[in-house]
């Protein structure tokens, strides 16, 4: 449906799109993702015939070459630019009729088609209203209706959810989901959550180049270096964290265990291995009598990878940014050293050194029998705690 090969577009010295190639098959919903200025809009404008490409191998939409057969392309696409260009002095139905005439729809059919499309996007009751008086969300929907009117094979939607409130966003998402069974949809956003819910396949652009392409799980897999996810474990136990890690590492299927930060009395671990190992780790915790606080199957979200990717690239090109900034994905990063500076045990919230009383969380120890009305101090002989003095 959409075929782009080696597409380059320059604006003077600026390279907006740099050797971009991708394909969109019939019936697919593909999301363009990238920060502002990544080349999403430029690519869409080229596909819609608004801008010519500086150089390109092939740019074809619905089987027509964009440059040579521009009219055929324009007839077979519905393009909604980000600014939602509508004539403010026209009524909604007049705007629709104008679009219908431009696309040479038959007069009789046009009337029913207009009602049908307005109904579909939910603005049929506004058909007599002036476009200029519509709210942002309604305007967006009318824009979508205008794009949909000629029943195009391909829909190109540039930031269809920008400027909308959460409810309107959800409705646009629902609309796009409905459209996907009849149209090929290419949409863009710089909001990952949007793309994640709307488009099964994502093309990530950065500085005019494609940095990833595929369904979300495969993108996540490829960008995160093969690890699809890991089990995050936080537990309090009498044992040393290294010993705990060793035990976890002995489980079948576990490839690697990273000892994370210590939060209060809990040690955190990231367990990497084949698939979801929660049950095995949980069973181990049971037998060892560890008091669990968290046992989660963590997949890096597209958001995390995306941020890492973008900032990472900047990192490589410009002056080095401290690693902690370059790695916002906290769950994946490892910090094996316990922050035991001065031999003091950082209890409570990480970063505060003030000693706090906490409840013993070991259910096998005395949690069930203790007086629940009184907090138990850690200074009491606590089996759930490793001794800071001995550690230091």
């Amino acid at each position: 449906m959409i075929e782009v090969q080696d597409l380059t577009r320059r604006f003077g010295p600026l390279i907006a799109v740099d050797g971009l190639s991708f394909r969109v098959e019939r019936g697919e919903v593909v999301g363009f993702l990238g920060p502002n200025g990544a080349g999403k809009t430029t690519t869409m404008r080229i596909l819609s015939g608004y801008l010519p490409a500086t150089s390109a191998g092939t740019v074809a939409v619905a089987g027509h070459d964009v440059l040579r057969d521009s009219m055929a392309v324009r007839r077979s696409i519905g393009y909604l630019p980000e600014s939602v260009p509508l004539y403010p002095e026209l009524r909604v139905e007049e705007m629709m009729r104008f679009q219908g005439k431009l696309h040479r729809l038959e007069r009789r059919a046009l009337r029913t088609r207009i009602d049908e499309v307005l109904e579909r996007v939910g603005v049929l009751d506004r058909s007599r209203q002036l476009v200029g008086t519509l709210s942002r969300g309604l305007k967006q929907r009318v824009g979508l209706a205008v794009a949909l009117l000629p029943d195009p094979e391909v829909l190109i939607l540039d930031e269809p959810t920008s400027g909308l409130d959460p409810i309107q966003r959800r409705e646009v998402r629902r609309l796009v989901a409905e459209l996907s069974d009849q149209h090929t949809v290419l949409l863009s956003s710089h909001i990952l959550a949007e793309i994640e819910t709307m488009a099964p396949r994502v093309v990530i652009l950065h500085e005019g180049r494609k940095v990833a392409d595929g369904d979300q799980s495969s993108i996540i897999e490829s960008l995160s270096g093969g690890a699809a996810g890991h089990v995050s474990l936080e537990a309090a136990a009498a044992a040393e964290p290294d010993r705990m890690a060793e035990l976890i590492g002995s489980l079948p299927g576990v490839a690697r265990v990273e000892v994370g930060e210590r939060v209060g009395i809990h040690h955190s671990f990231s367990v990497f291995g084949e698939g979801d190992l929660r049950e095995d780790v949980g069973a181990l915790a049971m037998t060892q009598g560890w008091a669990l606080r968290e046992l989660t199957w963590k997949r890096p979200s597209l958001e995390e990878l995306f941020t890492r990717l973008v900032i990472g690239t900047l990192d490589a090109e410009e002056e080095p940014v401290p690693r902690s900034v370059a790695e916002p994905a906290v769950e994946v990063s490892s910090a094996p050293d316990l922050p035991l500076a001065g031999g003091e045990l950082p209890l409570g919230a990480p970063g505060t050194s003030a000693q706090k009383t906490i409840y013993s969380l070991n259910p096998f120890d005395r949690g069930a029998s203790r007086d629940l009305s009184k907090p138990v101090s850690v200074d009491d002989p606590s089996p759930a705690e490793d001794d800071p003095e001995s550690g230091a």
Binding site: L51, I77, F98, Q99
Partner: protein, 261 residues
């Protein structure tokens, strides 16, 4: 050309939905009426007043201002509001868009120009004898001059996203266009003595340059035929050719915008 028709319809209807258009209408009709009244009291004779109102200095002032004011929004406004992106990705050619818009502004000016016809009608009604061929010829000439100047104004409108700047550019262009023969004569007066040795050589250079300026002389072409009620096809062709050239340039300029992005 169906596309041009669709664009024309929207543009023409859109003109009458803009308050700006009504203000222009009001001001022009009011001033034109006052001017006609002024010409009537000044000349004291009916045909003189009509002549003044239809082809006098005020006429040419209108001809410079009105097309510029109408044409300035045609492209610049759409470029600013973003609807140009919609129009240029619709299945109509750039030339159809340009033609449709040009026709809309022209139709408006033709209707506005027709208001002057009502003066002749009124004179007829009160028992005067207006020179109808000259009046009608003048109206046709008005439309043709407007056609050319709207085309020039539209070209200016594609250069910028600021309508007022476009209007200014267009007025400057139209005034220079009208003054080309005059300016050329003036300039020649200074440089001609240095161009040719003999009187014959100078005369031939003068004739050659006059031949060029005569082909750009909107004023002369208008005065020679339409004003006296003669519909000369060569004069019509003169205006239509220049108009076509500027429409073509406008379409090319729109395309150049795409390349610039």
């Amino acid at each position: 050309m169906i596309g041009a028709g669709v664009v024309f319809q929207r543009e023409f209807a859109g003109l009458f939905r803009a308050p700006f258009t009504w203000v222009v209408l009001l001001v022009v009709l009011l001033l034109n009426g006052l001017l006609f009244n002024g010409y009537l009291t000044a000349s004291g004779n009916v045909s003189g007043a009509l002549d003044g109102a239809l082809t006098g200095f005020s006429f040419w002032v209108w001809m410079v201002f009105l097309p510029a004011l109408l044409a300035m929004r045609l492209v610049a406004e759409e470029s600013r509001s973003g609807t140009l992106e919609y129009l240029l990705t619709a299945p109509v050619s750039d030339l159809a868009v340009v033609t449709g818009k040009w026709l809309a502004a022209l139709a408006f000016l033709a209707v506005l120009g027709a208001s002057s016809l009502s003066y002749a009608g009124m004179i007829q009604a009160v028992g005067g004898q207006p020179d109808w061929p000259a009046v009608m010829g003048t109206w046709v000439g008005t439309v043709l001059v407007a056609a050319l100047f709207v085309a020039i104004g539209m070209l200016a409108s594609t250069f910028t996203s600021t309508p007022l700047l476009a209007a200014f550019l267009s007025m400057v262009a139209c005034v220079s266009w009208l003054l080309v023969p005059l300016l050329a004569e003036q300039a020649l007066g200074y440089v001609l003595p240095f161009l040719g040795e003999t009187a014959e050589a100078r005369a031939s250079i003068l004739a050659a340059i006059r031949g060029v300026t005569a082909n750009m002389d909107a004023f002369g072409h208008f005065q020679r035929s339409f004003r006296i009620g003669v519909l000369d096809s060569s004069e019509v062709v003169f205006f239509l050719t220049w108009t076509a050239l500027f429409l073509f340039l406008t379409a090319r300029s729109l395309e150049a915008r795409r390349w610039r992005g």
